[in-house]
């Protein structure tokens, strides 16, 4: 999984400042040290802030639910690390992460988006018994194993991913 956004060879030179369009085509350049900080920041960010930009209608629907007050003041970290997550929010977050993965000028480095993406899927499987992806278990496991190799993951997210991977191993398919 190429970490192109952390590639030091992609560091800008003053020549690139003239061809600013080429800089604009690529993602912001985040160093390896930055990615851990970006993930921590994302996990502490309010869900409503980012998801409203993705699907305002879906967020509005959630705001009508009886649990709205609790749901929408949650952070991404609370959603992923607590025992009773809302599956609709998990799915929205999965869609947010997937969109960010595929957008070079998106809101997140691709690596951080991948972590968020797999974490949402696994948490939905483990805590809600719900599958919010069409990936089969083998494909999921491959993706999660590669993400777990990144040293900058925070401890709680790593635990979520590892537990999910263990769960997948117990249920081949």
């Amino acid at each position: 999984m190429p970490e192109h956004s952390t590639d030091p060879d992609n560091a800008p030179s003053w020549a690139d400042l003239i061809d600013i369009d080429s800089m604009d085509k690529g993602p912001p350049v985040w160093s390896g040290n930055d990615l851990g900080a970006v993930l921590r920041h994302q996990l502490s960010a309010p869900i409503q802030f980012d998801l409203s930009n993705l699907d305002a209608q879906a967020v509005a629907n959630l705001q009508q639910s009886p649990q709205a007050g609790r749901l929408l003041v949650s952070t991404f970290g609370q959603l992923l690390h607590e025992a009773d997550p809302n599956p609709e929010l998990l799915d929205l977050t999965r869609r947010f992460a997937k969109s960010a993965m595929n957008d070079q000028n998106g809101p997140l480095p691709r690596e951080v988006a991948l972590v968020l993406y797999y974490a949402c899927i696994l948490v939905a499987l483990i805590h809600c018994g719900r599958r919010i992806t069409r990936l089969d278990n083998d494909a999921l496991a491959r993706g999660v194993r590669s993400v777990l190799e990144w040293q900058w993951l925070d401890l709680r997210t790593r635990e979520v991913l590892q537990r999910g991977l263990d769960d997948l191993a117990a249920k081949p398919g």
Partner: protein, 300 residues
């Protein structure tokens, strides 16, 4: 600086009357540039005019007209003809843009000593640009303005050298030669082009910083400087992400990322704006930017 204006206005008048040795030559290049710009801005038909603007107004402060030109008039055209104030202002901007590159050309390519190069440029500006209105002769259809300017400078230098040589033959032993005979090739040297490219960048960044300050978006300028410009130009480490969000109060990585994208787009707009002062056709502007990038890439 009224005393400076008075001083240089008298210098202009003395030059016209052929009094004295000509222009004083300051020691440092920075003060020399200040000198040239003062000459341009203060030159008037009458002496002791006290109301000419100090040379750093209209450049560093950044009038709204300078930032967002109302027309796409070529800066070169405005410097060549028009009312006196417009000509002086446009000429001052042009000289500020080109003088560093011209000096680099004389020093690096022509191997002229820096003090001699300063004096040559000073004479060239006074004799050709101001007195002969050189800029009015520029014809965009015949090539780039910087090539035109450089060609004119090269010819001036050659001519001056020949006159000095002739004088020396008439009076042998009377002083040393000022500089070596420059090469016949009038094309811009790499040093000239690199300095020219740097001036373009510097002007675009200056305009962006002014816009950010005026619009209350110093966060964009800060992010741009600390994540992009300083790493690109000085090899500095980009500011760490945690320091970035702490300093600018971003609520999420999306905000931080969006700020960087907004900043880059703002800079790109100003960069095109600087080039558009010389070229009207969007395709020509694109080509100019590509050439400048090639120049900058080759300088590494």
């Amino acid at each position: 600086m009224p005393h400076t204006n008075h001083y240089w206005t008298n210098a202009v008048e003395n030059k016209r009357r052929g009094i004295g040795k000509g222009w004083p030559v300051p020691r440092s290049f920075r003060s020399w540039t200040f000198t040239i710009l003062t000459i341009v801005l203060c030159s008037r038909p009458k002496a002791d005019s006290m109301d000419a603007a100090p040379p750093d107004e209209g450049f560093a402060a950044g009038s709204s007209d300078e930032l967002f030109p109302a027309t796409r008039w070529s800066l070169v055209e405005r410097a060549g003809c028009g009312d006196e104030q417009s000509v002086r202002q446009a000429l001052g901007t042009l000289l500020q843009r080109y003088l560093p590159a011209l000096r680099i050309h004389l020093v690096a390519r022509r191997r002229i000593q820096p003090d001699d190069a300063d004096e040559l440029l000073q004479d060239f500006i006074a004799a050709k640009v101001l007195e002969r209105n050189l800029v009015a002769l520029a014809d965009q259809s015949r090539g780039k303005f910087r090539t035109f300017l450089l060609t004119a400078l090269n010819r001036y230098v050659i001519d001056k050298k020949r006159r000095q040589a002739a004088l020396k033959r008439q009076r042998p032993g009377d002083g040393q030669e000022m500089f070596d005979m420059p090469a016949a090739d009038p094309s811009p040297s790499r040093a000239f082009d690199v300095e020219w490219a740097r001036q373009i960048l510097a002007e675009a960044m200056r305009r962006m910083s002014v816009e950010c300050e005026r619009s209350g978006r110093n966060d964009l300028w800060g992010v741009f400087q600390e994540r992009i410009v300083l790493p690109a130009t000085e090899g500095a480490e980009p500011i760490a992400y945690e320091a970035l969000i702490s300093r600018y109060g971003f609520e999420s990585p999306a905000q931080a990322s969006n700020s960087m994208i907004t900043a880059k787009r703002m800079f790109a707009r100003h960069l095109r704006g600087v080039v558009a002062e010389y070229l009207d056709d969007p395709a020509e502007i694109d080509e100019e930017l590509r050439e400048l990038r090639r120049i900058a890439s080759a300088s590494h």
